[in-house]
Symmetry: C5
Subunit: 353 residues, 5 copies
């Protein structure tokens, strides 16, 4: 089911700031993972209760909290209270219909992006990932447990990694980079899909081909809504003057910006390519109809005159001298063949055969 | 009746500042409701006369005045005089063909937005809601009495509500948020409509389908005119430096801004989806015609040659040896069947059967 | 005749600043009307000679000079000399192919706008109105005498009117407002036209319908050229820092700006609606062709096989046992009817009947 | 031959600053004309050698040097050395594939524009005109000798002309104005062409009409490339703070700016008109095909059933009672006529006749 | 294989800053050429090891290092360490899916552009060229050894060349200019291709023509992605305030900027031309179908009535007086001929013959 079909209006009528989970409900248990690290230490554990995070507030280590699953509103509420997060931000975290955005607050930054993956050939799956970047904390809120952060975990385990030496802004960068890298996988899939449809169009276009084209187009329309706000988002991050973002780390965000532009431009190209494919499809339908017409015309135009001639000599007039001629019948066959040959040549010259 | 069909020129020729109600006339009585509240008190009453409002000018409470129905020009005129509102603003309040806009004055802010609801499947109903935001007063002018403010009333009744503690700017935010939330309901209806038309297109497209597509397209065109100026409106509010707007409340308006962008983007997607649906429809018409052509061609191409052969042996030549042959007639049937089988195979190979 | 067809190049080759009337020549006598007023007095007379204006230069009243007809270049020339107007401005006043624009000079402002009216159903008539706004004078230059300023005259006669108390900038505002108000009349006409064409498209589209659509489209193209520069024009007036424009009056120009935007947006909608109407028309042509095809196919496919069978029993073979059978002929009719019924059912199932 | 077909790459591989003439070679002799003037004197002569210009450098008169023909690279080279012109400017003067542009240097301004004229009905001829504006010199470089500057010459001869009293910036304005005025002639030709094609479309559209539409479209595409950069060019001149441009003269450039915008907008309209004409053409092709189909259907649908009936009574069954009936044959004619009349009425009702 | 089909996602999952070669692998040996020059000396040699470059760091000469082939990651790594290049830059050099961009660092500038060449008729070959511009060093990284820099080598050999006297910024300009000059060759090829397709469209359009149009369109889509970011790139260079760029050299970059705009505009024109060609193609398909229809209609409409008449006189009624008439048969031929002539005239009048 494409994103647009879940209900955007679920929450309408509720007071602003009401914490209600809006969006597709995933039937997984929610899970809270805490990764705490600095240059020398790394701990990784699962907690049940936000209060367990409080001791970390007084340490100098970086604490990354991953919340998988948004059904339990009380967790979000607790985070809001303990870390002093604005009610509207909490509300946005719970509503998975957000468009990607970046919001600056005095003590924290709020980022929403979409993790994209391919469910099956034409269906892109969207997962909203919200990030809260604090001085010593990073919170990530995901709709469901999955493996998209695994590469980051393995990098963290390596204590020589750049990541272990830098702050929460660099961790945020790594998380966003990992998510945006997945966009390229999607881009490759579309490249292949489009190429295979182009082949089909040239060899044997059918109504099915049109259907595929339309489905790709549809997915691209929704995809654009998730990807194109990323440009603005990343530009805002680079322009931001928040103290939470190190000047050097901003260059890294510039790298993601480049990636997003490349993906966006690729999607623009797909749109143009698809428009071209539709033109080919429509003209192939016309060509086929023309082909049908030619077959009919050739058959009808050859046999209708012959049938007329046969009809003439089937008439019962008393005085029809040809009928008595000794060579009338064979002569008529000569006429039949002559007319046919003449017409066949005529159609040949018109390139209809 | 769509908005564009009421007469935009009704007032042309009148001097500017003339107070005349321009727009669809609703046959309801006009009604003035006054809600006066602060942290501890809340009164709600109906008044007949603007002069009854004057005592509230000297209190510290927030007074929300809701005018339902714009037929009685004298009410607007009275408000203008007692609260010192610019003549052009009064004129705009009475003319329901305004586009959404935000205007700043020294002592008050003027906002026009459109409340949208769905009359029936394809007809969006537009109601112009004008807001005057003063220091201790909020005026809302609506075209007719309806229930769109009911959720706000019930929230006001709760004396622990955020709303009871904050100023007229927050009340204005709540009113606008309530109206914009309804846009999502509309968006959901369009989502469903478009999905059902897409299904119809794939299963059994008819001229009726095209009609539906066209109606959706039409509604979207008018809808865009009401929704897209909201972006600019909300951006202006956020940029505004008026003392009537609290810095903290502006972030709330940013939340409505996000909602409006989401609705706008959804409508852009619908436009693209509908363009794609038209392409499918047109190609389905071509495909159907091709189908018809093939049936004709197969029938004609098989029977026309056979008829010719039958015609030949219906001729009355004296010397037609085949006619005397003992097995002539059965042999001819063999020819008939042979020709048919050959042609059927030919068409089969062409994938026409 | 549409504006674009009069010759844009008439003046090419002449030195800049040459005063030559370029544009459609109206066969009316030119006429100069002078209206002089202040709070207490109002005189209205017709003069023959620009020199008659000189006495007004030393009074404190506001003098509005209306020149109807641009054939007499000497008048423009005289105004230029007595009121010190730039040669290029005089040249522009005489050339009625200007696009709407606003130019600021130290002692005066120059405004060109187009008065639009409807000659007949599809033909919009364009009249260029040039305005010179001086400290105590307003000059309006029109191509021909007509009634577009009548509402202003009657308002001036009312000595309690706002207009009588304010300066030349307010008079300029009133003139422009009166002209722009007429755009709404045009908008209403287009609304009706488009609705009637839409009805025609659904009931009985013909080549004539396409023609009408095309004519509307054509008029819209030219209309846009006259209306859309008005946005920029009015934005420039509002941004202007000229001492000739009172800060309070600028808000009134903001009102015209809103009107122009509404008209422009309506015209954008028309463009989209018309694109949709073309799609419907084209698909209706295809549908009609399909209808024709189906009739042909049904007739041909039913009778061609029957004719073949009749042809078979018209053959003259000596040994055709069926011909001797007592019930051969009625049996054959049974076959005829059976085949027809079968095929009719087949086509019924295909929804072709 | 349209501009785009001469070779853009002729110079690739050469070092930058190499003086090589790139573009269509005109087989005319090059010619250098020098016009030297001030308020009281005017001399006009032809020189062979750039060194002859050196004496003018020490006078106070304005010297206008017109170079017709760019084949002799040494002339350009000499100008570059004696007047200290940047190598890249010299290179650009020689390359006639430039797009219109304006470049500011300390001691001179460099302007490239395109002079347009109509070779024959559909072929616009492009001539690149480069201008160097110095303190007391104006150089114009043209591809070939022609008459485009004749109106300027005759104006210079008039010693009361404005032109004789003002500086090199005003001369530059006059040159550009003269060239841009020619654009209006072109615009008029396009107006006429488009109107005649529109008439043809309504009366008798043919494949030839489509061809004409396509040619106009093609020319417009190339035209746009020459005209639209002029907007930016003239805006830059107006924004320029060069001491070579008098503040008063800049207003004159504003006048050319207006002209260019009018031409550009006209060309945008043509594009829209042509899109509309294509739609009409395509629908006329469909309508014609439908017409053909109807004729075929009417003929076939009337005679095929009749032929079947005739076939029935041509069968040779022994027991066919109708054949013996005295009024069988006339009765059958009644049937024939009855069926025809019925079908004709049927088609009449369908509006096919 | 078009650029978009190599895998954009090859690196996803790796930590940022990982040096991995991403892109098409060229099977050439990598090669490092070092050209060291100043006004008086020029040496040119091939090295195997980046350490061999270190002595040049202490000289005043300009050192141009050309790396052909990116397979050996250790080379890039060594350059990064010895010349202190940011890890993300090294990563970008190795990833050949970059879009053209310009990045400023304190001690060096990083530029990525695409060298384009034509592999065969429709296939553009893309080579990514990365440039590092340091104070005394220029590094160019190419995907494979080829001849694109040959014109620069020969110019360097000339010790009077401008190039020998100027800094690394001018060398960078020369390199970029050489690459962009090749774009014009490409432009010329497209000009020719499009002209030949236009001829084919007018003389004998076939499905093959459509294919060619589509291929050109496809190439243009990809081309645009490589060329259009160049505008921004060159504008950024001109705006840059880096000390590595001499103010005078920036004007030269302005020249490349002009070239890029010309190429970009040419490509925009091609897009419009191609859209026009598609319209012609589609209408030619419709016209052909109409042609086929007319042939069928003429044949069928003439012979079907005649066949009916022949059928009538083939009936076996006992009382058919015409059959006994002496001149019945010849009279019928007269009817046959009469009907044919009448119908031929009818179709002639309809312009179908």
């Amino acid at each position: 089911m494409s994103e647009s079909l879940s209900y955007a209006s679920e929450k309408s009528g509720l007071p602003p700031g009401s914490l209600v989970h809006v969006g597709e409900v995933h039937k997984h248990e929610h899970k809270i993972t805490v990764i705490d690290y600095d240059k020398s230490t790394l701990t990784n554990r699962t907690i049940k209760n936000i209060e367990e995070l409080l001791p970390y507030q007084s340490t100098d280590t970086i604490t990354w909290v991953i919340i998988d699953g948004l059904q339990d509103v009380s967790i979000i509420d607790a985070i809001g209270q303990h870390f002093d997060i604005h009610a509207l931000v909490l509300e946005d975290i719970l509503n998975t219909h957000q468009r990607p955005k970046f919001e600056e607050f005095d003590d924290y930054l709020y980022i929403v992006i979409k993790a994209l993956s391919l469910a099956d050939e034409f269906n892109v799956e969207y997962e909203q990932v919200s990030l809260l970047l604090l001085d010593k904390f990073v919170f990530t809120f995901k709709e469901k447990p999955d493996a998209i952060f695994d590469p980051i975990f393995s990098r963290l385990n390596n204590d020589k990694s750049h990541l272990r030496n830098l702050g929460t802004d660099y961790l945020t960068y790594i998380i966003m980079d990992t998510i945006v890298d997945e966009y390229f996988t999607l881009q490759d899939t579309f490249d292949e899909l489009i190429e295979s449809v182009e082949d089909e169009l040239l060899s044997d276009p059918s109504a099915q081909t049109l259907n595929t084209i339309q489905k790709i187009k549809r997915e691209l329309i929704f995809l654009r809504r998730s990807v194109s706000p990323m440009r603005e988002l990343l530009a805002s991050i680079q322009r931001s003057e928040s103290q939470l973002l190190n000047e050097k780390t901003k260059r890294y965000f510039g790298d993601i910006y480049d990636h997003v532009i490349r993906v966006t431009e690729a999607m623009e190209s797909y749109r143009d390519l698809i428009a071209g494919m539709l033109d080919i499809y429509l003209s192939s339908v016309s060509n086929k109809m023309n082909e049908t017409m030619k077959v009919l015309t050739v058959f009808a135009s050859i046999f209708i005159p012959l049938t007329f001639i046969a009809g003439v000599y089937g008439m019962n007039f008393e005085y029809m001298p040809e009928l008595k001629w000794r060579w009338g019948y064979p002569a008529l066959w000569a006429v039949f063949i002559g007319v046919s040959v003449f017409l066949l040549r005529f159609f040949k010259k018109k390139n209809w055969l």
